[in-house]
Amino acid sequence: MTIKLYGVAMSTCTAKVLACLHEYGAEFELVPVNLQNGEHKQPAFLAKNPFGQIPALEDGDLTLFESRSISTYVAEKFKGSSCDLLRSQNPKEAALVKTWMEVESQQFSPAISPIFYQSIIVPILYGGSPNQAIIDESAAKLGKVLDVYEKKLSSSKYLAGDFYSLADLHHLTYIYYLMKTPYGKLINERPRVKAWWEDISSRPAFKKVAPGLTLGDKN
């Protein structure tokens, strides 16, 4: 039975999981959810994710929500293949992957997501004007987080060590969108962060996902 991922290719959280699925070469079906029609708030979808957010995953009897727990599940399910994004066989490496996954979740995401929301979602989905004060405050926070990354990346090639892991992968989709805004400079101004971004975004699995990240593109 194939994995079903409910979501949309342009969503940062859905695409995070897509990148993981492609890294593992997993067979899956992307089942579109009609956000404009509020499908994600209807009972059928709420049965998959009571918080009414995409993505959700179905694998046999298992239903899961929260993109980071879904990607972790995928990585653990396909453990033992040549792809190893959790480093499960090495407890010390696995522990560092966990730490830097939480850093993305608790430090990086809260700082970058308001920039994404104000710069891309507000004008495009709501036809509104970005709130510059929120953007400026978030850009300052994000800068401080990226300063820590810049230092960390001087002692290891990737965030958790000299190996690519889910900790790096989870950053892909938000940074991809950030680079479409003037705030991409926060990445470009930091040489090691920039090099890390260029490395992780050139991975074949991400190259399959990036074309779907179309928010903010001019038609």
């Binding site: 929260e66 727990s69 730490t99 939480e102 850093v103 987080v145």
Partner: protein, 219 residues
């Protein structure tokens, strides 16, 4: 006897208390090293070596240094599966994934509004800082709505991830404890039948009572 693990930080910190609760549930011996935050010890060069974001807790287990409370909790559960509460993070991959999605929900959806409320209502007055009424009101609304989802879920199962207490429930204890006991927001929990029952059960666990004692003794 193995060297105990070390936790750095004050028990009054919500993130530190999350780790302490997990260690006690898992019956893993630990040493608590105080960090004088009032004197800025968490921003000192020595501390930044073990926690580059200058936050508590930091954690050490033999040669492994970790940070981010939820990563530390997952690490403890995976390293010591046979100790203490064996089911805390599930005893099979499906159970673990189901628990993990609710740990993520706590980190992504419960933590942000509850942290703001705890700071505004419990800590700001004690620190003689002015409260932001609109921030309080916005986050009360968010939390109220969120707990509506929890109410429905907890009508379907005894605890968030199923019929057993798990890391998902534990993760909520620190902020919820302050909301109830220091921020005068008990009503958020007692106004919903299932949430009230759940809160009563999880907050009366021996492990949490021990953490609360540690918090009291540290003042």
């Amino acid at each position: 006897m193995a060297t105990p693990v070390t936790v750095h930080g004050p028990p009054l910190s919500t993130a530190v208390s999350r780790v302490l609760a997990c260690l006690i549930e898992k019956d893993v011996p630990f040493q608590l090293i105080p960090v004088n935050m009032a004197k800025g010890e968490h921003k000192s060069p020595d501390f930044l070596k073990i926690q580059p974001f200058g936050q508590v807790p930091a954690f050490q287990d033999e040669a492994t240094s970790l940070f981010e409370s939820r990563a530390i909790c997952r690490y403890i559960c995976e390293k010591y599966p046979e100790k203490g509460n064996k089911g805390l993070y599930g005893t099979n991959p499906l159970a673990k994934a189901s628990i993990d999605q609710w740990v993520e929900a706590e980190g992504q959806s419960f933590n942000p509004p509850s942290s703001v409320l705890v700071f505004q209502l419990a800590f700001a007055p004690r620190m003689k800082l002015k409260q932001d009424q609109s921030l309080i009101s916005q986050n009360e609304t968010k939390l109220e709505k969120l707990l509506g989802v929890y109410e429905k879920r907890l009508g379907e199962s005894r605890f968030l991830a199923g019929d057993d207490f798990s890391l998902a429930d534990l993760s909520h204890l620190p902020n919820a404890h302050y909301l109830v006991n220091a921020a005068e927001r008990e009503e958020l929990f007692t106004s919903k039948k299932n949430v009230e029952r759940w809160w009563g059960e999880i907050s009366s666990r021996d492990s949490w009572k021990k953490v609360v004692d540690m918090q009291k003794q540290s003042t």
